[in-house]
């Protein structure tokens, strides 16, 4: 079969492009690791500014010792019923504290991150928000980030 090639023809349908691979080998023992939570589920402290449901590329720094009762969700892209019942099902802060107490990990990070994924300005997320979050985690000496999203 002969393929017809038309130069300059473009698809009218936007297709997602998978970004180039980023992979950092894990070389530490979990028992020596400080672990942070990073969630795209719209988690923030009740005292912090809620996310803009129409699209928001900002993020919130959540101090590591924040009680789970002080957290809430602002995200219009998924059913919030479960996370409103128990924040740990998207942001397992109490579970992480228990793992630190048990010695499974070294420590809970001094700061966690919440943002609102599910769309918005993806370019901003990739080029600004993501690198800014990585800077915060580096500054705070975080070894491992556990993300919840998608």
């Amino acid at each position: 079969m002969k393929l017809t090639v038309v130069e300059g023809l473009q698809s009218e349908i936007y297709v997602p492009i998978t970004p180039p691979p980023v992979f950092t080998p894990f070389t530490k023992d979990l028992k020596e690791c400080t672990v942070a939570l990073v969630s795209a589920a719209g988690i923030h402290m009740k005292s912090q500014k809620p996310f803009n449901l129409a699209g928001d590329f900002t993020f919130r720094e959540i101090p590591g010792d924040t009680p789970s009762s002080e957290l809430m969700v602002t995200h219009g892209g998924y059913d919030n019923t479960d996370v409103n019942k128990d924040i740990n099902c998207m942001f397992p802060i109490d579970r992480l504290r228990e793992l630190a107490k048990e010695g499974f990990i070294k420590a809970v990070a001094p700061v966690h991150i919440g943002f609102m994924g599910g769309g918005g300005n993806v370019k901003k997320f990739q080029e600004e928000t993501g690198p800014q979050i990585a800077e915060v985690l580096k500054r705070e000496g975080v070894d491992v980030a556990v993300l919840t999203a998608g």
Partner: protein, 69 residues
């Protein structure tokens, strides 16, 4: 390490390390108030750091929660 409810999407978006329990979007770490399930998912996610050695790997986790909608 990403705990994903929609692993194909997570993979397509370029997440380097993915674990995927059988959960709905919005309860990625398991059933609300189910401490046993949440702990197991979180522990398995952390343990997977030691077994995932290449980019884009998805590890299914054997925990299931179906939300009552």
């Amino acid at each position: 390490m990403l705990i994903a409810a929609l692993p194909p999407v997570a993979k397509q978006q370029g997440s380097p390390r993915i674990v995927a329990p059988m959960v709905p979007m919005g309860a990625n770490v398991g059933e609300p108030n189910n401490k046993v399930m949440q702990t197991a998912i979180l522990k398995d996610a952390l343990n997977a750091l030691m077994t995932i050695d290449t980019y884009g790997k998805v590890i299914p986790l054997p925990y299931e929660y179906k939300a009552k909608i």
